[in-house]
């Protein structure tokens, strides 16, 4: 049906060399294999892993329609003027009904389609929670290994708590638009706490100045230890590019601050630990999903089990799950030492 045989490269070590040399076709092919869940992709990523760490990874998050994609397009222009190459990972939602997606972020960035210093990759979220696609982090690793100086990640238009993005970026920009909040909105927890740069976009709309003041107020009200990065508030009009050069500067200043204070290294270490956790969890969840696909229908195939589920689904679920959790209990006993 809609399944395609994954592209597998006949010469994996040659592919690694091509990717490290920045070959766009090789990089794109690996990205495709990553999304397809091709087991060879894991092996190649493992070999690329040692070559990561050169890219400065930024994120631009905010509600749908805030102008994130347009802003990123203008940011690309600014970074390119500084002779920095740019990789973009733009995530849009997948349909819960059909699994299909229209990935339209790229439309706003097409001015850069012919620039060899820019690589834009659109991803469908495919039901992943938290606003990112599962493949996003691995695809960033590929872009990093390919040598892009700056990577910009655009998650799905976010609510207040789509925090997945924080696990993989060094610097997070949060886009607000005028007239969408008051003082209480801005003291809430969530993304507001995580932002390194605040952006008030569409600053030609009424209320932009007060939005900037509200956010500046929020930043100044926080009690922070001395020598902490204070998120700046940048006012932009992405459509015209006005203010976006300052935004690019702020991101680079944040990188400088983190480097000077040894924070970038610490952040990389934390993110690497987190990444490892995610990998283990994902491998286990994949197995559990596959197990459920094979066995839940069978379990429900007998009249006795159906009756049990109808009478007390909690108890019936415990009984079925115990087949796996028994093994986990056993592993828990034996795996005290590695």
């Amino acid at each position: 049906m809609t399944e395609r045989a994954p592209d597998i490269h006949p010469d994996p070590s040659g592919m690694i060399q091509d990717i490290l040399a920045g070959n766009v076709m090789a990089g794109a092919r690996l990205m495709r294999a990553i999304e397809a869940g091709n087991p060879q992709a894991d092996l190649l990523l493992g070999q690329l892993y040692a070559h990561r760490g050169n890219a400065f990874v930024t994120g631009i998050t905010g509600p749908p329609g805030a102008g994130k994609s347009t802003l990123i397009s203008a940011l690309i222009t600014c970074f390119r003027q500084k002779n920095l190459t740019v990789g973009v990972v733009a995530v849009d939602p997948s349909s819960a009904q059909t699994g299909g997606a229209v990935l339209g972020d790229r439309v706003r960035m097409q001015a850069h389609a012919g620039d060899p210093g820019v690589f834009i990759r659109s991803l469908a979220a495919r039901g992943a929670a938290g606003g990112l696609a599962r493949a996003a982090q691995d695809i960033c690793l590929v872009l990093d290994a390919m040598g892009y100086d700056v990577i910009v990640v655009e998650p799905v238009g976010s609510g207040q708590a789509d925090m997945e993005i924080c696990r993989m970026v060094h610097s997070l920009g949060l886009v607000a638009i005028p007239g969408t909040g008051d003082g209480i909105q801005s003291v809430k927890a969530g993304l507001l706490e995580a932002a390194d740069v605040f952006i008030v976009n569409k600053n030609d709309l009424p209320g932009a100045t007060s939005e900037v003041m509200t956010l500046e107020h929020l930043v100044n009200l926080r009690s922070v230890p001395p020598d902490t990065w204070q998120p700046p508030v940048v006012s932009t009009c992405a459509r015209t590019g006005q203010g976006v050069d300052r935004l690019a500067e702020r991101f680079l200043e944040h990188r400088g601050f983190m480097t000077d204070h040894g924070l970038l290294e610490k952040m990389r270490a934390d993110q690497a630990a987190n990444h490892f956790n995610t990998l283990v969890r994902q491998m286990l969840l994949d197995r559990i999903d596959a197990w459920m696909d094979r066995h839940v229908a069978g379990f429900l195939g007998t009249a006795a089990n159906q009756a049990n589920v109808a009478a007390d689904p909690y108890r019936a679920a415990r009984k079925l799950a115990a087949r796996l959790t028994a093994h986990l209990d056993e592993a828990d006993e034996t795996d005290r030492e590695f």
Partner: protein, 132 residues
Amino acid sequence: METKNKIRVLVAKPGLDGHDKGAKIVALALRDAGMEVIYSGLHQTLDQIISTAVQESVDVIGLSIMSGAHLPICKKLTAMMKEHGLTGVQLVVGGVIPRQDIQTLEQMGVAAVFPGGTAFDTIVTEINQLFA
């Protein structure tokens, strides 16, 4: 729905013709058929289309052409696709395409032609068949 390797389609409008409602509607129909559609918008140069197809590793390039320039565009694009190693990528074309040009397009290497009035089901089925 749970398949991980979905058909990725680039929907693009080359050249100067200035409205893309048809292309957008086809993009929606392909989405509803479970495909991932990269929509690149109006006024695309062939260089942009090629570079987008490479970066997005698409399986299909779908062009919407209503300017009458489908023959020279497709001739040039099929040559560029070969030159850039996009050999596994299928090119399909829709829009205002006279019936008598379909065979010529197919001889150039266009995998399927969907002139105005083609049913969505036909488009979806034929694209799926390219990968059956």
